[in-house]
Amino acid sequence: MWPWTPVPKNGEANVVNSVSTLCGGCCGISVRKIDNRAVKIEGMPGYPGSDGKACPLCLSGLQKLYGPTAVSSPLKRVGERGQGKWKKISWDAAIAEIAEKLGRMREDGRPQGLACIMDRECGTVPALFQRFLQVYGSPNFMKTASVDDAYELTLKLMHGVAARPGFDLESADYVLSLGSGILDGWGSTVRMFRARARWQENNAKVVQVEPRLSNSAAKADQWIPIEAGTEGVLALGIAHVIIKEGLYNKAFVDEFGVGFEDWVGKDGKKHDGFKTIVLKHYSPSTVAGITRVDPDIITETAKAFAAASYPLALCGRGEGRTPGALHDFMAVHALNALVGNVNEKGGVWAVPLPDYVQWPEAKLDMAAERGLATDRVDGAGTERYPLAKSLLTRLPEIINAAEESPVEALFVSGANPCYTLPDTAVAKAAFSKIPFIVSFASHMDETAMMADLVLPDHGHLERYEDIPAPSGMNTPVIGLCRPVVAPQRNTRHVGDAVLMIAKAMGGLVAEAFSWESYQDCLEKTLGDNWEPLLDAGFIHNPKFTPDAWAKAFQTPSGKFAFMSDACSYEAEGAPIAEIEGKADAYPLTLIPYDSLRLAGGPVTTTPFVIKTVEDNVLKGKDIFVEVNRKTGGKCGLAEGVYAHLSTPKGTVKVRVHMSDGIVPGVVAMPRGLGHAEIESYVGGKGINVNELIGPVEDPVSGMDAAWGIRANLTIA
């Protein structure tokens, strides 16, 4: 009838269940197929957390599968870095080239020159990389950090355990979100939505503390607008009221807490306890001065929080892409501890890290041992930052400061640091100094553009993978990502690629990888769990309960540490992470904001999802920043005008959206735009907010504590 309009072929309908890895929350999905074509993604009923629903990004996953950015075969760079000029090469040639390069580095005694960047550290695929680095002789496995890392560190310090945070959200009856985008992608996205529905049914109260009227704030029972970056201070202000009024859980604090009262450290000196510090420095009026939250609201909130049966305080800003200041996390966790809801119903649980990847210890040769003994290139685990596991945000500066890049060869898989790292320009400069970069991206992205070789992984609907523990899940879960359709292009599973490289290297490196293929590795790793996993699509232990207080804490004192030697509050002042820029040159503050309608992480938004973005966020190729109507008026701005937004990192041209839903003095910019123009549905539109914000090192953890940057907005 209309020959250039496609007519979809009909056939037999069938459904494949899998887990979508596009979003951070890992939605369980059911893919409807017609014969061999996948035609629709829906939520997978019964999947822990998402249970039949999926986030917009995962729902549009077919646009990734069949999309134009999928890499169709191994590529070798022929042009300049980032120029996007490639030639197709065979898998064998690519693997041989890598093996040859790595072999030479190892012979030259510099195996530590190899680094690996991923977006996860749990599961078999990260484990394969970690094992490869280990037998090869490099300590430099790095992971893009998120709130989960800050939370893990908090649990390490306050509980003394290596665990990840789990939140018994569904049971909470008072939720105090200190900046967390609980409906904007924080945690396991869809689970948060379902939890919110539960709160509504149970008449639980939700209070959102945030500078901007985000979706999370709009749907909360109460929005407390706050000065940007001061959420941790408010937590302590609330703690002040709770302590002062004696509303805290004495059974927990007295019996299972340490450092609440004044305490004596290892140095033999007496230190102020949590109580003293909080009472001294965080009275509602002081806190009100910093946070600009009315003292009465602080008091009311504190009372309501303490009075609730299952109060739960959450932190980690927005979607949780940047870890934030450790102090904030500890303050909020202390607040939870004050009301005794750690490892309790409706509270924060320490959930053991997944431990199903148990492989025989690999044999190491001398070269490997020597390499592993060197300091990590990012400084994690060194004397300066003993607590951190990896500090990717420090890497660019270190590479740029060195004459020759300490990283000589780099593997990147799952991550897109050239887009997600703060101060993108500096990150890209660092990457261009790295002599040899191998990207395992399934889709062309900013980092793959910087690579020398691209060894394309199967797309997320074409491969097997174990997906452990969605963020914030309070019960152990392993999901199975499985092929919905056969690989559409000349790609290999990244696990297989690692096996191939190892085998090409020979020697002990090859010996450490005895599996025939990645699938073989996965099946053997899961052992008895494989069949159930294959049948149900996931393994879940819904009956899991955390350790009771009596044995939950493995700090030196065996108690919950409000304060300890490892980490104590400064006696004076408020622990707000300083941001870059001087107030006189930059009178405003730029903060990024997250939305489910834009993917802010390593995965680029899909055409369907960007179609849902409103025209006062993106219009044509112009990005809008949100600014308070009054602030904007003072700057001489009006709705929709073009303006120059400058920060110490640079100046960009933006358009202005005047809003009544944002605190004065703050400029908010969406995260997830400004991608390289690899395709023109999403690429080349707007500005990447990471270009404008540099990293700020947390003094204790070393992780990125930046929550914004000083900025100025002038009419263009």
Partner: protein
């Protein structure tokens, strides 16, 4: 030949959207596009030339900081019943390319019949109808994701939400095979209903007292389907379009934003 299938009790499929639950995440929009082979262009920021059968509006109470409040309002096709089935758009179509079914209450459409006069768009106060200004183009290979259940539309015609009627057809196929003539409530659900992670959308037969939608809004069929539940309202109730999409909100300003009020009190302002 048996004739029994024609004599089922007439249904009135409708939707109830709880605006207190809707978080504006956009899942319904994406699920709708993916289900219904909705085309996409390189630039979709001109919202008056962007096909979104399901569109989420952002409403604000118009108050200054910090009293400002927003509410999201998903707007599918309202499948207006109008007076006796003469919905605003159906009666104006010169080529009978769109129709109102008394069996299901659905405003149906034949894409290959439409010749693109756009009169129905002018008639629809909800802007639920969209014109294919451009040829639909899928990047090479992406046409593989198209569903065979929904006909792909060509340039120059009007399209809109069908309440995923192909899902009804699919469910009825199964029912026929099993010797049934009636569908259970959960057998026919729209894609957006199924996708909404907040559970804000409920879909079913408004005529059936056992269906959730009926219980939630208690439509008064004697008075043009007016909702009798306290927090329920319909968009532009006063115009007499008799829509089958109902909204729920506990917030008064939201309920008032659903219709024009002559005194001008409580009027919402679009967030622009």
């Amino acid at each position: 030949m048996k004739q029994s299938q024609g004599h089922n009790r007439p249904k009135k499929y409708g939707m109830v959207i709880d605006l207190d639950k809707c978080t504006g995440c956009g899942s319904c929009m994406v699920a709708c596009m993916a289900e219904n082979n909705v085309p996409f262009k390189k630039d979709e920021t001109n919202k008056r030339d962007s096909i979104t059968w399901m569109k989420v509006y952002k409403l604000t109470n118009g108050k200054p900081f910090p009293e400002n409040d927003v509410c999201y309002l998903p707007r599918p096709c309202m499948h207006c019943e109008g007076h006796h089935g003469h919905s605003p758009c159906v009666s104006v179509c010169p080529a009978t390319a769109t129709d109102y079914s008394t069996d299901t209450g659905i405003v149906s459409q034949i894409y290959t019949r439409c010749f693109g006069c756009r009169y129905c768009m002018a008639a629809c106060p909800y802007h639920a109808r969209y014109f294919n200004w451009w040829d639909p183009v899928w990047p090479a290979g992406m046409e593989q994701m198209l569903s065979p259940d929904v006909s792909v539309r060509m340039r120059g015609i009007v399209e809109k939400c069908s309440f995923c009627f192909h899902r009804y057809q699919r469910a009825m196929d199964k029912a026929h095979l099993e010797g049934r003539h009636e569908l259970a409530e959960d057998e026919y659900q729209t894609s957006c209903t199924q996708a909404c992670p907040s559970g804000a959308i409920t879909f079913g037969d408004l005529n059936n007292p056992e269906h959730k939608v009926h219980q939630m809004v208690k439509p008064d069929n004697a008075h043009g389907g007016r909702p009798q539940a306290p927090n329920a309202f319909r968009l532009l109730e006063r115009l007499g379009t008799n829509p089958k999409v109902y909204y729920l909100s506990t917030r008064e300003w939201v309920r008032k934003a659903g219709d024009n009020s002559i005194k001008g009190e409580g009027k919402a302002h679009a967030k622009h």
